[in-house]
């Protein structure tokens, strides 16, 4: 089974860049009926393809994006190649704000603008936090809008939790440039209990049984 659907010149392609988000992608595949819910039992289990950091063989993944800033360049190459072949399908990239600290991200944006690659749409999850804490405290990236614009992307900025606004931004025309949509999000949206651990939300591990229980209760409430 090809989890992202069959490949066709008319069809889009999706690249998850920070494949640390693999679990979210597996969940999305389940919600869209492309992966069975029980497969999550295999998440991060020895020998399973549902790896913790998604890899080439993991469901829904085209690349291993564990080393940040690399997938966007590969997607740019794919977009150039698809345009050269006359494909009408688009290339989509999901980027995180933390990996914008990698210089390669900007190399990629610059090269796409230079080569007028316009069949690519990039969504940046601007959740404002990374391993060490708030992005603003670790290595501030703002103003991201100005940065992406000046590097040559057609840039939009939206509340990432406002889906109609996000969809509208992604439908914007972007002529002969790549489209970048900055989706500002809260890393604990819909799960306020995580706020207690903010801004340290990179692979949250339970500290003790008490915390495990409180998260369990939260999960029960969410599921009911």
């Amino acid at each position: 089974m090809i989890y992202n659907g069959r490949r066709d010149p008319n069809l889009d392609r999706f690249f998850l860049s920070p494949t640390h988000y693999a679990l979210t992608l597996y969940a999305t595949l389940i919600e869209t009926g492309r992966l069975d819910k029980s497969s999550l039992d295999q998440f991060n289990v020895d020998g399973s393809t549902l790896e913790m950091i998604g890899s080439e063989h993991s469901p829904g993944h085209e690349t291993n994006g564990g080393s940040f800033g690399q997938t966007i360049s590969q997607a740019a190459g794919v977009a150039w190649a698809r345009r050269a072949k006359g494909d009408t399908g688009k290339v989509w990239v999901f980027l995180s704000d933390g990996e914008c600290q990698e210089g390669q991200t900007w190399e990629a944006i610059m090269s796409m603008a230079f080569h007028k690659i316009n069949n690519i749409k990039i969504v940046v999850d601007v959740n404002g936090q990374q391993v060490d804490g708030r992005t603003a405290d670790v290595m501030n990236m703002e103003p991201l809008f100005d940065k992406f614009s000046s590097f040559g992307a057609c840039t939009k900025q939206v509340d990432g939790h406002n889906l109609p606004a996000l969809r509208k931004a992604l439908e914007a025309s972007h002529d002969d440039r790549p489209l970048v949509v900055l989706a500002y999000t809260s890393p604990y949206k819909g799960m306020e209990i995580l706020k207690e651990r903010y801004p340290h939300l990179h692979y949250v591990r339970f500290k003790d049984d008490h915390e495990r229980d409180s998260f369990k209760q939260q999960l029960t409430r969410l599921e009911s």
């Binding site: 080439e56 690349t63 564990g66 690399q70 590969q74 740019a76 190459g77 050269a84 090269s111």
Partner: protein, 335 residues
């Protein structure tokens, strides 16, 4: 000995005419890497990537995923050093057919340590899925497109450029994984690669005259390193083995030979004529080869050390010798 200019420049244009899948990428070193004629002949299949090697590697990987054959060109140091993670995660791990043309090996540039690729073979050889090739002459350079195209995966090619010698007959194309036998002999087995082959040829004929039998093989495929003829040559040398390379003593041709010797339990001595675990300074090739001990005199000393006696060869003999009288494989077949 025939010297030819800009062999790759002509060859890759010829290749481009019959291979529409070939895309050339360059990081602001287009004429320096001899792809300017390709750029002019096929502007739609040439990508100027600017001084952004990391992005260039990933971009090439994306092209390869869509069925193109990307041929990435820049100086080797900016590839295996500056964009190693990209080569590993975007190209080698997914085993994509990206052909990586690395220029300025070792002493071939006066550009100093920032430009001299002295440990590229060691690094690239350690990457899973990577094939590693080193060129020495016009025939090697003319062969690498066909040779690397036959590999369904990434290939690193250590390139010589500019005015280069024709050491091997043009019709006798270089084969993947097959060393060229340049001479037969049972006293010493000599493995050389890259520009050191040309250098070594200054003394091998003289050694023959002095009655020292040298089994000389020119190696182009550093990985995989599994040529039966090399293995046999390592096993049959009376005094031992010498490797000679334009690379540091760790991880290059000498290490390939050492690994083969240990793998097959061959009881022999191995002397490496190589850059002795140091960065170089910027200077002429001739100066650097002598200063860092990879010239013909260093080779002669190694041979004397191996056979345990002084060989009657003067500096004048070495200066006047020319590498134009060795035999090739076809001639060997006739022997």
């Amino acid at each position: 000995m025939e010297l030819i200019k800009r062999v790759h420049a002509k060859n890759i244009v010829k290749w481009g005419k019959t291979h529409s899948d070939a895309i050339v990428l360059s990081a602001d070193l287009t004429s320096s890497c001899e792809v300017d004629e390709f750029r002019d002949a096929f502007p739609d299949r040439f990508l100027s990537m600017g001084l952004m090697e990391q992005n260039m590697m990933g971009f090439a990987a994306g092209l390869a995923r869509e069925g193109f054959t990307p041929m990435v060109h820049t100086f080797a140091v900016f590839m295996y050093r500056r964009s190693l993670d990209q080569i590993e995660m975007s190209i080698a791990y997914p085993n994509l057919p990206v052909k990586i043309f690395g220029f300025l090996p070792g002493v071939t540039t006066p550009g100093g340590p920032s430009h001299q690729a002295i440990n590229d073979i060691a690094v690239m050889r350690s990457l899973p899925n990577m094939t590693v090739i080193e060129t020495a002459d016009a025939t090697d350079v003319e062969s690498v497109l066909e040779l690397s195209n036959a590999v369904d995966g990434p290939v690193y090619i250590r390139m010589v450029r500019g005015q280069i010698p024709r050491l091997f007959p043009a019709k006798d194309q270089t084969m993947l994984g097959k060393a060229r036998v340049l001479s037969l002999g049972s006293d010493v087995t000599l493995l050389t690669s890259g520009i050191c082959t040309e250098e070594s040829l200054r003394v091998t004929d003289i050694l023959k005259d002095r009655g020292i039998g040298v089994q000389h093989l020119h190696v182009t495929t550093l990985k995989p390193f599994d040529d039966d003829r090399v293995c046999e040559a390592l096993a049959k040398a009376r005094f031992g083995i010498i490797t000679m390379e334009n690379h540091t003593s760790i991880g290059g041709l000498g290490s390939c030979a050492a690994e083969m010797i240990s793998k097959f339990g061959i009881n022999t001595k191995l002397l490496k004529v190589a850059i002795n675990d140091t960065y170089l300074q910027g200077a002429s090739r001739t100066f650097l080869m002598e200063r860092y001990g990879i010239d013909v005199k260093a080779l002669l000393h190694a041979i004397e050390s191996l056979i345990g006696e002084k060989v009657d060869i003067s500096d004048t003999d070495l200066t006047t010798s020319r590498p134009d009288s060795f035999f090739n494989e076809n001639q060997q077949e006739a022997l």
